[in-house]
């Protein structure tokens, strides 16, 4: 193998790729996305309830006691952004509920709370909130809180107890959460702690899978433009494949460098840079190189085996399907990095880089056993060597094969050829 020739191929691949509009778009779009996501999440997290639009809640109180108490808890009929209206007690509850539900539909009411007559009983029917909002609507929790407070208050009174005294006795314990540096855990920091592993995963995924698809396109272009035979008269298939992989790896490295710099800048801006440790960067680079070699050589072989991008895309579907597994499971892996599932997944070679980076950067990343931290990259390296060898065999034969895309049996024959 000639280093000069490999370098020449790699340089052409790099220069011709970075000159494309797709590269420039990728280079700029990702940092813009990072900044946009941070600004949006900051804006949402600092927004106070008082700044939100006031919501009107109507109550149909079949018990005749609870709505009054709820209003008493909110003297002006308002609780933050919630404005409470009690339906006419003399009206038929069923008819009233129907009318108010229409208002909810029309948008003039946020919701109607239907309080059952037996709400104070031990085996009471449920109170029902008829609302337009979807699940996880924080207003639901506020309505529920008000209703519980009102019902508890009335129960204390009925039992002859002083509700104010009882509330004092049942006051919650003050509780604080601090990280290892002694800093208080705030909701936005909690979010940053969970999102940091995802950010690493996303950058790795884009750097490995997103970029190596350029290799697939480039191989197919060389094959369909029929320049490949000229290249093979000067280079061995292995020199060509190595040069192309290195060139595209350089492209990926450039992108990842820019993206991580912007992401780190954003972390400093948000004051969460301590979440990114220097060893994380080192691990990221190691898994980037191994992951890239593994995926890129598979895609180079696929490109050589196919004649058109369409053929390649159909063969790529299983690869894509496997590689998105960590994207689907990232939350579980980040929260349970040492579960059996996470551990097993991190030894499945195509997923090792992605799952290991999630586990190691997760808040409990220090708990990943040392043997796994050493065994995973070693196991992956063995696979990289094996896959690169197989891919180079397929690449060598596939480059000069035109016609129908090969099946699995044909590919196996090429490897043994």
């Amino acid at each position: 193998m000639s280093g000069y020739k490999i370098f020449t191929v790699a340089r052409r691949e790099y220069i011709e790729t970075v000159k494309t509009k797709a590269f420039l778009l990728g280079l700029l779009l990702m940092p813009l996305m990072i900044v946009a996501v941070i600004m949006l999440s900051t804006r949402l997290s600092v927004q106070q309830p008082s700044e939100q639009k006031t919501q009107r809640l109507a109550i149909v109180d079949r018990s005749g006691r609870v709505a009054e108490r709820m209003l008493a808890q909110v003297p002006a009929g308002e609780s933050g952004s919630l404005q409470i209206e009690v339906g006419d007690p003399a009206a038929d509850p069923g008819t009233l509920l129907g009318e108010l539900q229409k208002k909810v539909h029309a948008g003039s009411l946020y919701a109607v709370l239907d309080i059952p007559a037996d709400v104070l009983a031990e085996d009471a029917s449920p109170a029902v909130l008829h609302a337009r909002g979807g699940f996880f609507d924080e207003r639901t929790y506020r309505v529920r809180g008000l209703l519980n407070d009102a019902v508890t208050h009335i129960r204390y009174e009925d039992a002859g107890l002083d509700p104010d005294e009882m509330r004092k006795l049942a006051r919650p314990v003050r509780f604080e959460e601090r990280d290892m540096r002694g800093e208080r855990n705030r909701p936005d920091k909690q979010m940053a702690t969970m999102m940091t592993p995802f950010a690493f995963l996303f950058l790795l995924f884009m750097g490995v899978f997103g970029v190596s698809q350029g290799l697939l396109t480039s191989v197919i272009e060389e094959k369909s433009s029929r320049i490949v035979e000229v290249l093979l008269s000067a280079l061995s298939p292995l020199e060509l494949m190595t040069g192309k992989i290195l060139g595209i790896a350089g492209v990926g490295f450039t992108l990842v460098l820019v993206w991580t710099s912007v992401a780190y800048g954003a972390a400093i801006w948000k004051g969460v840079e301590h979440l990114v440790q220097i060893q994380h960067i080192g691990l990221f680079l190691m898994y980037y190189v191994l992951g890239f070699l593994l995926i890129a050589s598979v895609l180079a072989a696929l490109g050589a085996a196919c004649n058109t991008l369409k053929e390649a895309q159909s063969l790529m579907s299983p690869v894509t399907f496997v590689l998105i597994v960590p994207m689907i499971c990232w939350f579980y892996i980040t929260r349970s990095p040492n579960s059996t599932f996470s551990t097993l997944l991190s030894f499945f070679p195509p997923l090792t880089p992605f799952v290991m980076i999630l586990r190691l950067v997760s808040p409990e990343g220090d708990g990943v056993p040392l043997w796994q931290q050493i065994a995973a990259p070693c196991w992956l390296t063995i696979w990289v060597v094996l896959v690169v060898w197989v891919a180079s065999r397929v690449f060598r034969v596939g480059l000069l094969m035109y016609g129908k895309a090969p099946g699995l049996r044909e590919l196996v024959r090429w490897v043994r050829y």
Binding site: S2, Y4, K5, T8, V9, R12, E16, E221, E222, S225, R226, I227, E229, V230, L231, L232, S233, A234, L235, S236, L400
Partner: protein, 315 residues
Amino acid sequence: MTKSVAVRMEQVDKSFGSVRAVQGLDLTVPAGCIYGVLGPNGAGKTTAIRMLMDIVAPDHGRIEMLGAATASSVKDRVGYLPEERGLYRKMRVADTLRYLGQIKGVPARVLREAIPARLEAIGLASWASHRVDELSKGMQQKIQFLGAVISDPELVILDEPFAGLDPINLEALTQQILQMRAGGGTILLSTHMMEQAQRLCDSVVLIHKGRKVLDGPVREILSRVDPRIVLVEIDGDETGLPEFAMVEQVERHNGGWQCTLAEGTDPQAFLAALAGRCRVLRFEVKRPTLTEVFLASVSDATDPAAMAAGQEVAR
């Protein structure tokens, strides 16, 4: 192997499934000549060339190139223009040539001077900074040829180099090939263009259905064929011509007669006999062309017995 042999193939076989593309091919290409590989479509020419270039491995047989056992070890000394050829459409002309030169191991500083000079020589100097897809098809073919020879190789292998060229570009390419031979280079080319092959090649090999049918210097191959057609014009009774025992067939031709002589007849003996009976105004022995030899050999070669006989002739 002597230094004067550029390429040697010995009993080379190659099959693709049940199709025997090349069968027992022997070929010796001396250094410093233009050697033509001729044959109809599907004869096995491209497969033979691909085996020479080590792009396809032979099933059996031995191949030597420039004194080495495989083409891979002398790749940088061999220029190759494949039949299926293309260029990077978005790349600039000069960058393309630089790339093709560098992957042949030519240092960048050498190419900095060589590329403008070579482009100048083929009249494309002003196109150096243009993208390949801005060039006409003929221009692209010239660039492809230049890419194959930019490294000044000792041996150049051209698979159908004249395909699709207009007469002007065809002549320009012919001159380039002749110049390379004058410079001591060896050129092995495959073509369908018999006139071009006859004009350019010192030797040819004719392949049909994967087998060698004819092989040798062009002049020798043409001289092996009996010159049985003569063109005559006589002053006297022309109706007596068919009565000559030496004449097999007589046809009118450009105001004279085209006589096909009986097999084994010496044209000189016919001239003597003719001169004894009438006044001969014109007597021309028509030389066979490579096209005629090609067609005759290919039609003979469809019959295995005739093919074996043809190979005897070749030897």
